[in-house]
Symmetry: C2
Subunit: 311 residues, 2 copies
């Protein structure tokens, strides 16, 4: 076997990559996610695009180990999705259907788990085999790799770290219906809310005043030495550090990778997270290393490819 | 291969069992844990006892798949212990040393992880392969089984659930040096403390007044319909249910098994735990089943035997 495909299905686009077995990305491309009619075109579109690519590159089917595919939903070990928030799918046997359409072996997984697998294979956590990745975007997602393999769980819902409770006194509801979820404080929208609340508390001067408030403007202000921005980032660091400490006590990772749009602020955020992590970490987890993700939007296709390679 | 041994090393005694490969316990016995001189006799004593048993039963070494051994400390995937609180050992290559002493294949693991594996193999969670076991004794321990295998982690410290933070406002310290650990509320000593604090609050009549307070007397009072005891168990259930919800969000188990001395109170405790679990559980984990452990003190030797069988 010389090649494999990695596919990362998102709500607006589907990213795809052609990989060698040792992790070289030979080609990558995107197609639109057609969510209409319960997303009935998504898998056929992927199959057609993969077929077109094999023809274009003159690759024989028997040179291809298979297709790994990441989906934004819980995916069971058997490649079954029970429901999706963003694709229109209800119950769908993803691995089986895509296999029937392509003739290729297919392994499906949760997109956040596969992003973690990608960062372990080719990214920030290269060389480790027990890692956690937390993705700070509009929401907070996460994936854990235990002994080199994604922690899938009984329902395919392993490592939904955004919904770990980090504040038992919160009264506002998270999108999931619970209160005090990590996502309410460590997502891009959560950070912006922390900022608005802090700015409304008093009149302390800040470069943030009069600006549109976002996670990016908060971290930009921090880099300029803004004290109010630092207070906001301290709060973010406390919630995220505490949540990750509870996660580390369970999964015992060597490395925690921080990814997603918020992580583009870079290494400057790590001390704020680590300080509170160490405060609540179990002694055996104190050496856990923190890193910013490296693969950006490619993490998902890389992890998907690794999933089929390891199978 | 017809047989294997399961060994469970505790601070006062070492439990041992001879198993068939399909899980019949042919024999079980105990020896004393000699902790003096940094526990230097522990592994030789085990090796001698296993040898004596094979002679007594006229079993050939080549009929034995090997020895699984559980240790009350973090144990890495390679069978290495870095330190122990109760055995006197510092750094010790458990699997390697016991192999050299016995000539048998050896697999070592953390005792709480192996108790979980035992309950999955022969106990309450028989038939599942994604489970969590939480052990409520003097402290709170735990083990997770992911896809049939113990979650070991980078440092062998996976699933130290007793030290998950469930109360960010606690000021009293746990034995581990942190504050707000689950162990401070859900262990036998934690429950007794919750009881003493509640009884001191006012003069509400209770059968607990004038008794020696323990987890057992609290649950006995609950069974008699004592209202103060019920309030205490509500508090216990809230902390444990919240901690297990955070754990389930990470590990996504089909079943949570409650073991240890406190669990002898039986099924009466489950509704109190489950109520708070459901309050903080992610939607994908709402179907998680709760069960009381079945194997009692045999869980450790059963899991140890299963570890070597699966290797």
């Amino acid at each position: 076997m010389k090649y494999c495909f990695g596919v990362d299905v998102g709500g607006t686009s589907i990213k795809m990559g052609l990989f060698t077995m040792d992790g070289e990305i030979l080609d990558k491309w995107e197609i639109v996610t057609r969510r209409e009619n319960q997303g009935e075109n998504i898998l056929p579109d992927i199959a057609a695009s993969l077929k077109a690519k094999t023809r274009e590159r003159e690759i024989d089917l028997d040179e291809i180990k298979g297709v790994g595919i990441g989906v934004p939903a819980p995916v069971t070990g058997a490649g079954i999705v029970k429901n999706t928030a963003n694709l229109g799918w209800g119950y769908k046997e993803v691995s089986k259907e895509l296999h029937e359409m392509t003739g290729l072996a297919v392994q499906a997984g949760n997109d956040a788990n596969l992003a973690a697998l990608g960062e372990m294979w080719l990214g920030a956590a290269k060389g480790w085999d027990n890692i956690v990745m937390v993705t700070l975007g509009t929401g907070v997602g996460g994936g854990a790799i235990v002994d080199g393999r994604p922690l899938v769980g009984a329902n395919g819902a392993g490592t939904e770290v955004g919904h770990v409770c980090v504040n038992y006194h919160e009264t506002r509801k998270c999108g999931c219906g619970k209160t005090g979820c990590l996502e309410q404080y460590a997502s891009a929208t959560g950070i912006a809310r922390l900022a608005r609340v802090r700015l409304a508390e008093d009149d302390t001067p800040s470069v943030l005043r009069g600006q549109e408030i976002s996670a990016k403007t908060v971290f930009d202000a921090l880099k300029q030495g803004d004290e109010v921005a630092e207070e906001i980032v301290e709060q973010f660091g406390a919630y995220l550090g505490h949540g990750l400490a509870n996660l580390a006590i369970i999964v015992d990772p060597a490395v925690i990778v921080i990814g997603g749009g918020v992580s583009k602020a870079g290494d400057i955020m790590i001390p704020y997270i680590k300080k509170y992590f160490l405060n609540k970490a179990f002694f055996a987890n104190k050496e856990t290393e923190f890193m910013i993700a490296k693969l950006d939007n490619d993490a998902g296709i890389c992890g998907a490819a690794k999933l089929i390679i390891d199978n």
